[in-house]
C-alpha cells in the first residue's frame, strides 16, 4: 500500500492518537518536572535531574496537611454521597411514585449548573446563617455535588438489572434480606463502585465550590492554587504524578477483577 493510501485509511486513528497525546501531555510534563531541581522558586524550566522531591515529599510547609484534609473530606464525602445516592437511586429505579419526575429534575440540576453559581449560593447561605466556614461546610458542599453523580451511576445499573433474578431468589425461599444481600447488592455493586469512585475523584479535585465554602481551611487544590502565585514547589508534581499512577493502577486492578468475575459467572 502506498504511504498516502495508508495515511488516508488510518486518518481517523491517527487523529485519535494525537488527541490521546494531547490529553496525556500535561501528565507527562508533570512527571518530568517532578524530577527537576529548579533554579528559582518557579519550576517552569528544566535545570537538572534530582530525586529530592520524591525523597522528601512533605518538606514544604502546609502541603501535606492540605493533602490530608482533602483525603479526609474525600473519604467522608464519598461514603455520605454513596449511601444517600444509592438509596435515592433505588427509589427512582424501582418505584413509581408521586413526585418522581420532580425528584429526577432535582437530581439533574446540580450536574447542569455551573460550579461557580452553586458554590456562591451555598456560600451565601452559610454566611447568612452565620455558620462557620471550615471542615463541615466543605464536607456538606462536597456531598451535595457528588450526590447526583452517584444517583445517575447507580440508577443506570439498577435499571439494567433483570428483576426476574430477584423473583427467582424469592421463589427459592430467600428472605427479603437474603435476596437483597446476595442478589440485589452484588448486581448493583459495579454501579455503586463507579459512583463512589467518581465521588472520590470529584471531591478530591474540586476547587471552585470548595473555595466558596472553605473559610480558612486549605484543601489540596486550594494549596496548589495558592502556590501558583508564589511558585509551585516540585513536591506538587510528585503528588500529581503519584495520583496519576495510583489511579491508573486502581482502574487496571478494577478491570482485571471485573474480567475474572465475569469469567466466573459465565463458567
Amino acid at each position: 500500500m502506498s504511504p498516502i493510501r495508508w495515511l488516508r485509511a488510518h486518518l481517523v486513528v491517527i487523529a485519535g492518537v494525537i488527541t490521546l497525546a494531547y490529553l496525556i501531555l500535561p501528565n507527562a510534563v508533570v512527571l518530568v518536572f517532578s524530577f527537576n531541581k529548579p533554579k528559582s522558586r518557579f519550576n517552569y524550566t528544566w535545570n537538572h535531574f534530582s530525586t529530592d522531591a520524591w525523597q522528601h515529599p512533605c518538606d514544604v510547609a502546609g502541603m501535606c496537611g492540605s493533602l490530608t484534609l482533602s483525603l479526609r473530606i474525600a473519604v467522608l464525602a464519598t461514603v455520605g454521597a454513596t449511601v444517600l445516592g444509592t438509596l435515592t437511586a433505588f427509589a427512582l429505579a424501582r418505584y413509581r411514585f408521586r413526585g418522581r419526575a420532580a425528584t429526577n429534575m432535582l437530581i439533574f440540576l446540580p450536574m447542569a449548573m455551573p460550579e461557580v453559581v452553586m458554590g456562591a449560593s451555598l456560600g451565601t447561605l452559610f454566611l447568612n446563617m452565620r455558620i462557620r466556614f471550615g471542615f463541615w461546610t466543605i464536607l456538606i458542599a462536597h456531598i451535595m455535588f457528588c450526590l447526583s453523580f452517584v444517583v445517575t451511576a447507580v440508577k443506570a445499573r439498577v435499571m439494567s438489572m433483570d428483576p426476574r433474578l430477584e423473583q427467582a431468589a424469592q421463589d427459592l425461599y430467600a428472605t427479603p434480606a437474603q435476596t437483597f444481600l446476595r442478589i440485589t447488592l452484588p448486581l448493583a455493586a459495579p454501579g455503586i463502585a463507579a459512583g463512589a469512585l467518581l465521588s472520590f475523584a470529584l471531591s478530591f479535585d474540586d476547587y471552585i465550590i470548595t473555595s466558596f465554602n472553605a473559610g480558612n481551611s486549605v484543601t489540596f487544590p486550594m494549596y496548589v492554587w495558592g502556590s501558583a502565585q508564589r511558585g509551585t514547589p516540585v513536591q506538587v508534581n510528585v503528588i500529581g504524578t503519584a495520583m496519576f499512577v495510583i489511579a491508573v493502577l486502581l482502574v487496571l486492578a478494577g478491570q482485571l477483577i471485573g474480567r475474572r468475575g465475569r469469567r466466573r459467572v459465565r463458567g
Binding site: V12, V13, V17, T19, L20, Y22, L23, I24, L25, P26, N27, V29, F33, Y44, T45, L84, L87, T88, A91, Y95, T103, L106, F108, M113, P114, E115, V116, V117, A120, S121, L122, T124, L127, N128, A141, M144, L147, V151, R164, L165, I183, L187, D205, Y207, I208, F212, F220, P221, V224, W225, A228, T232, I239, G240, F244, I246, A247, V248, R264, V265
Partner: protein, 315 residues
C-alpha cells in the same frame, strides 16, 4: 453463582384482581411508603444545600446594604441592570470562549471516540483508561503544566514562532506578539483540554451503540466513507453529541480557573467576576445577580440548542 445464571423462566401470568384482605392492604400501604423513605435523606440534602441556597441567592440579588450594616431585601432590581451594564463584555467573552472550546472538543474528541468505538479492538479498555486517568490527577496541577508547555521560551512557542504561525494568530488577535500565555488562545486551549473527556465519554457511549453492520450496509450501497459518516454514523451519534456539548459548554462558561491561570486580566470570564465580587469585593448582591444572569443565559442557549438538535434523550 448458579442462581444468577439460571435461565429465566416465563413470568407468571398476572393474578386476577381479588378483594384484598385488611392485613395485605396495610402491607401495600406500607410498601407505598418505601420509595419516600429511601428518598428522604438524599432529597432533603439537595433541598437544603442546593435548592434552598438558590432561592436564598435570588433574594440576595435584590438586597441592598453594606457589609457593616447588613443587607436587606429592598427589591432593588437595578443591581441586575448595573451588573449587566458593567460586565457584559465578560459574559460575551465567557460564551465565546466556552463555545469555541466546545466546538474544538467536538472536532478533536470525535476521532478519538470513533477510534475507541470501532478501531481500537483489544486496546479499547486501555485507551478508555488513558482518557479517564487524567481525570484522577488534580486538574489544577495539569492546568499549571500548560504554563510550562506554553511558556514564552518553551519548545511550543519557539516552534510556532519558527513557522510564523504566531504572526498569523497575532494578526487574528488571539495571541499577542510572540507570546501564547496570557492570550485568548491559551485560555481556550486550557478549556478545551480540561473539558475534552466530558465530550469524549458521551460520544463514545453513543457510538458504541451504533451497529457496525450499518457501515458495511452503507458501503455496499456505494456510499463513500465520508458519506457513510455524514448520513449514518453522525446522525446516530447525535445523543452523544448533544450530551457532550452540554457537559462541555455549561461548565466551561462558568469556569474561571483557566482564565486565571493561563490568561491575563484581558481574558477574564464571568466566573472570575463572580468569584472576586463574592470573595474579595464582598458585594454579595452583585455576585448573586451575576450568577442568575449567567444561569438564565445558559438556560436560554441550552433550550434553543436542544430544540434545534431535536433530541429528547437528555436526562
Amino acid at each position: 453463582m448458579t442462581a444468577a445464571t439460571a435461565p429465566a423462566t416465563d413470568p407468571a401470568p398476572p393474578p386476577a384482581p381479588a378483594p384484598l384482605p385488611a392485613a395485605l392492604k396495610k402491607a401495600v400501604r406500607r410498601r407505598r411508603l418505601v420509595p419516600y423513605l429511601l428518598l428522604l435523606a438524599g432529597v432533603a440534602w439537595l433541598l437544603v444545600f442546593f435548592a434552598a441556597p438558590m432561592v436564598y441567592q435570588a433574594s440576595t440579588s435584590v438586597q441592598t446594604g453594606t457589609l457593616e450594616d447588613g443587607f436587606k431585601v429592598t427589591w432593588h432590581f437595578a443591581t441586575y441592570w448595573d451588573a449587566l451594564h458593567a460586565y457584559w463584555p465578560h459574559f460575551l467573552r465567557s460564551l465565546a470562549y466556552a463555545g469555541i472550546a466546545t466546538v474544538l472538543c467536538l472536532v478533536i474528541g470525535y476521532p478519538l471516540a470513533y477510534t475507541i468505538a470501532f478501531r481500537a479492538g483489544r486496546w479499547r479498555n486501555l485507551v478508555l483508561i488513558l482518557v479517564i486517568a487524567p481525570f484522577f490527577t488534580s486538574f489544577l496541577i495539569r492546568t499549571l503544566a500548560w504554563e510550562t508547555i506554553l511558556a514564552d521560551q518553551g519548545p511550543v512557542v519557539t516552534f510556532l514562532n519558527g513557522i510564523h504561525l504566531l504572526d498569523v494568530t497575532s494578526w487574528l488577535g488571539v495571541t499577542q506578539g510572540d507570546r501564547v500565555l496570557a492570550t485568548p488562545l491559551a485560555v481556550v486551549c486550557g478549556l478545551t483540554y480540561n473539558f475534552l473527556p466530558f465530550m469524549i465519554l458521551p460520544l463514545y457511549t453513543s457510538l458504541e451503540r451504533v451497529d457496525g453492520r450499518l457501515h458495511e450496509a452503507s458501503g455496499d450501497l456505494y456510499a463513500t466513507p465520508f458519506t457513510t459518516f455524514r448520513k449514518v454514523t453522525f446522525p446516530l451519534s447525535m445523543p452523544g453529541v448533544v450530551a457532550g456539548t452540554l457537559l462541555t459548554f455549561i461548565p466551561a462558561s462558568g469556569d474561571y480557573i483557566n482564565a486565571e491561570l493561563l490568561g491575563s486580566t484581558n481574558q477574564q470570564m464571568i466566573g472570575n467576576v463572580i468569584e472576586s465580587q463574592f470573595l474579595r469585593v464582598l458585594d454579595y448582591p452583585t455576585a448573586a445577580a451575576l450568577s442568575f444572569i449567567l444561569m438564565a443565559v445558559i438556560l436560554g442557549i441550552v433550550t434553543l440548542y436542544i430544540r434545534r438538535a431535536g433530541t429528547e434523550e437528555l436526562v
